[in-house]
Symmetry: C2
Subunit: 544 residues, 2 copies
């Protein structure tokens, strides 16, 4: 059998547009003489549609779009992700489903059985779990259909321990082929785990498996694509491209050579960030980005990402020196902008800063310099960025990294201004690794930017490490506490960090929650981002 797995990039809520892409792909598949066409989970709505699902209009329109797909399915067997009503009077009102279609007829639905409700997922808010597993007859073969999480219970690498295991249930149906439609988001170094899980499923079912994944960035989540075909021994035979729309054309009868399959984790991370920026702009019909370029490493990295996502002509950099800015920072900013062929505008803020000091001096009488004055500078910069954004229709990209966000080493309404926090979920450690990776062939980011001690340059001779422990330590506590939810003792033991310091850092992470809550949305690339999939109270008193 010839299978065409279409790895599409839907826009959330753009139902007719997404369906147009599906119809297009069906025609391409037809030209390729495919017999089976597969689309990702929630291909009609885009994933995750969130509370759009609470509107009847939205559900109705999905049904209308599905009818168009059924109409276009002459002679083809199609599996496409949609969302449909639960017509029972009890339980949640919707199913997260795969519509299974053949030759202009709906054969039936397979409803997702395991509904992830952890981390970034809240599926039990909307969906009722599907009760049964299903295999559909097509040309004498049994085609089993599962949806994303359905196969994860089976693995030992589970995120959640579920009551049921759809793979074991599917085994009883003895499928000849398994189709898994997915919307599985990227996170750093996750792909190996994914291969392991799917491979195990093919082995258990002793049948080949097509996993068709969504690609594209949708509101903080990046779907990496990398749709896969496994043979019945569980080996990877073919993999679609990562981070772009692509398709797999699979002949189940032909012995294909195994896919030699390697990925550079940093390249993937960089691609995820580019796609995060690109789709944010494209899907909102925006084009131009504005970045405050300080000469430091974070804004340098964001500039590289923005240029790769939008093109240099769509990016404007703004250097805004104050009395505390060094000459070398200015030079580094200029060097980088020139390297990337980005326009660099120069708006010194020192006069404005002095105006604020003068205006506030009656109120601040007798008080010495503190973070107030540092924040003033960051906020003047934020105001200028936002004014240019408003007047000239640029979107400000904010440049704070995950380590700074964790520590609260950022200024609310200052450097936190922006439509998208490109590095919100990238630790300082990874910022350095990415910068070096970008420079692997030639010096794009000035070596001086990478080598010098990090500094916010908001007061004289300031260094980040004046008030923070080394980022290598901060990032370990982020790993242990935020991403892995380790206990206090486990963190101390695993990373061999001083007990008191661990407690201080956890307390700082807690205390900065109020800032993060007002930060721009980020691009989720780690196991646990601050901006999506973490529900943490601001008003709370616990410390381990």
């Amino acid at each position: 059998m010839l299978i065409y797995a279409s790895q599409l990039n839907p826009t959330i809520g753009n139902l007719s547009h997404n369906t147009g892409k599906i119809l297009n792909a069906i025609e391409k598949a037809r030209l390729e003489k495919a017999e089976i066409v597969v689309f990702p989970e929630s291909a009609i709505s885009g994933y995750p549609p969130e509370d759009l699902l609470l509107y009847d209009d939205f559900i109705d329109q999905m049904q209308t779009e599905l009818d168009k797909i059924i109409e276009a399915s002459k002679d083809l067997f199609i599996v496409v992700g949609t969302i449909r009503r639960n017509k029972e009077k009890k339980g949640n009102p919707l199913f997260n489903s795969a519509a299974v279609i053949y030759d202009k007829k709906l054969l039936g639905y397979k409803d997702k059985s395991l509904l992830p409700t952890y981390d970034v997922f809240v599926e039990k808010r909307y969906f009722e779990p599907g009760a049964d597993q299903k295999a559909f007859d097509f040309k004498g073969k049994k085609i089993g259909v599962l949806i994303c999480e359905d196969v994860w219970s089976h693995s030992e690498n589970v995120y959640k321990k579920y009551e049921k295991d759809p793979v074991e249930e599917m085994k009883k149906l003895k499928p000849d082929l398994l189709i898994n439609i997915a919307a599985s988001p990227y996170c750093y170094q996750k792909k190996d785990l994914r291969v392991e899980v799917f491979s195990k499923v093919s082995k258990i079912l002793a049948c080949p498996q097509v996993m068709c994944n969504q690609v594209g960035a949708n509101d903080q989540l990046v779907f990496d694509g990398y749709s896969m075909y496994f043979n019945k021994e569980g080996s990877v035979v073919n993999v679609a491209k990562g981070f772009v729309e692509d398709h797999l054309l699979i002949d189940t009868e032909k012995e294909a050579p195994l896919f030699s399959y390697k990925v550079d984790p940093l390249q993937d991370l960089y691609s995820a960030l580019i796609l995060g920026v690109k789709d944010y702009f494209r899907k909102l019909h925006l084009s131009k980005a504005l970045i405050g370029l300080s000469g430091g490493i974070d804004s340098a990295l964001v500039l590289c990402i923005a240029v790769d996502a939008l093109g240099p002509h769509n990016v404007l950099a703004l250097n805004m020196p104050s009395r505390f800015s060094s000459v070398s920072s200015f030079e580094d900013a200029n060097f980088l902008a020139a390297n990337l062929r980005v326009e660099l505008m120069d708006i010194p803020i020192d006069h404005m800063y002095q105006q604020y000091l003068d205006l506030l001096s009656p109120v601040f009488q007798g008080k010495s310099f503190d973070t107030t004055e540092e924040n003033l500078q960051a906020r003047i910069r934020g105001m200028i960025l936002m004014a240019i954004s408003n007047k000239l229709e640029y979107i400000v990209l904010s440049t704070g990294n995950k380590s700074e966000m964790a520590m609260g080493y950022v200024t609310l309404y200052g450097d936190m201004c922006g439509g998208l926090g490109v590095l919100n979920d990238v630790t300082k450690t990874l910022v350095y690794e990415l910068a070096k990776w970008i420079n692997r062939k030639k010096e794009i980011i000035p070596n001086n930017t990478i080598k010098k001690d990090p500094s916010a340059e908001l007061k004289a001779d300031q260094k980040d490490q004046d008030t923070l422990p080394p980022y290598s330590i901060v990032d370990k506590v982020i790993d242990g506490y935020v991403e892995d939810h380790l206990s206090y003792d486990e963190i101390v033991k695993k990373y061999k960090i001083d007990k008191i310091l661990v407690k201080e850092l956890i307390e700082r992470i807690h205390k900065a929650e109020y800032k993060r809550r007002q930060g721009p949305p980020g691009i989720r690339v780690s196991k646990k981002a601050f901006s999506k999939g973490r529900f943490f109270p601001i008003v709370q008193a616990w410390i381990p």
Copy 2:
């Protein structure tokens, strides 16, 4: 039997402090000769503890605190809300439980069966549902225990249609008394519904019922208390106070007169907002609030709330006129501050505004006045508020209302600055009603503030209604679209608003999502707030 229902105000995560309050109440109950002592749902942790539940340390410490309560229970029957581990290897790792204790022994746990996962609730993220209903023997009586949502499936006024109905299951156990421990958040005009639901439960079980509710504000949610005692006919016999810690002392043997029970919805709403502000400050060990007082109705209302929550000596008002501010606004601000005995500071921003215009004129050449210049003024005010906040340790209270937040008629990083958005969830219609309610006896808020057309005063002769339809229409679309999730046709039909206008307003609500995402947390007082319990994508294209 004598029952002491202790309506406590826990702080999320302050486990030993909350337990201290519980132990204190136990001693008071003992002095009153109570035999049964009841505490709210999640009394040890405070509700909702959110992702603190993902830490083993947190769960362990709750167990330690529970042991202290068991130790203090000599001769008493105690029901207290806690969270405990699910020791099965499958399913979610925790139960949301009532620990049932007698005479220094743990009799057992009743685990919450219905786990709300909608609106502000995400219980299926953490908890496994309890399988069985339980009644505990005490002095020859059977005491049934349920937890909050457990009784809501039974009502016809359900939020969700559940598969099971714990009340029907409980009926088979024939309890002599039902204890319901709750953490039921306030929302405007909800209380009558609550009485209806609980009353029905008592009637069905034909037994009296104690509902012990949490009180206090915890991270956006306000719990109103109003714990209740119903007789077996389902009539309200006694009600604890709203919005303060209180207790009910109930003698189940005595015929008590029925409680004549009336509530002023506006008074309740005002109390909820006061408690929201008060607990935000108290629980974070803060005391002083700073408010930009424009002379408009929103900031006037916030000033009243802040004064009632924190006392006039803890509140500082700041008037920051620009060239577009009217004299009457200045007079109104002064009149109100004097009425409330609040210090009013005056910092004109016009010079600073001109500085920005000058600084940006080379970049803005040839462009005419637009929202950029309006935003500049709002952001200068935001910066001044934040600078004083930083230097003098005030928390800025932001004053935007729900209608403005819906329409995006607010400036990000400008008037949206603040630790708490006091009116985030109060429509302009309700802002007026509350202002008139405050003035019911004497003119506290200047009548001129209430009467004049609303204006942001960010350009010459500006009125809100230059760019917005009347707030009465905006607020209807908020009711229908945001709060009730009505379909487009239903909204048009129900409110008789022009079709095109409804669509425009819904589109404006969608488009302002990116601003709201970066707004301060609010105090949730409606059925559906923007800031809590609504998951809506920023990058999406749907319009009904």
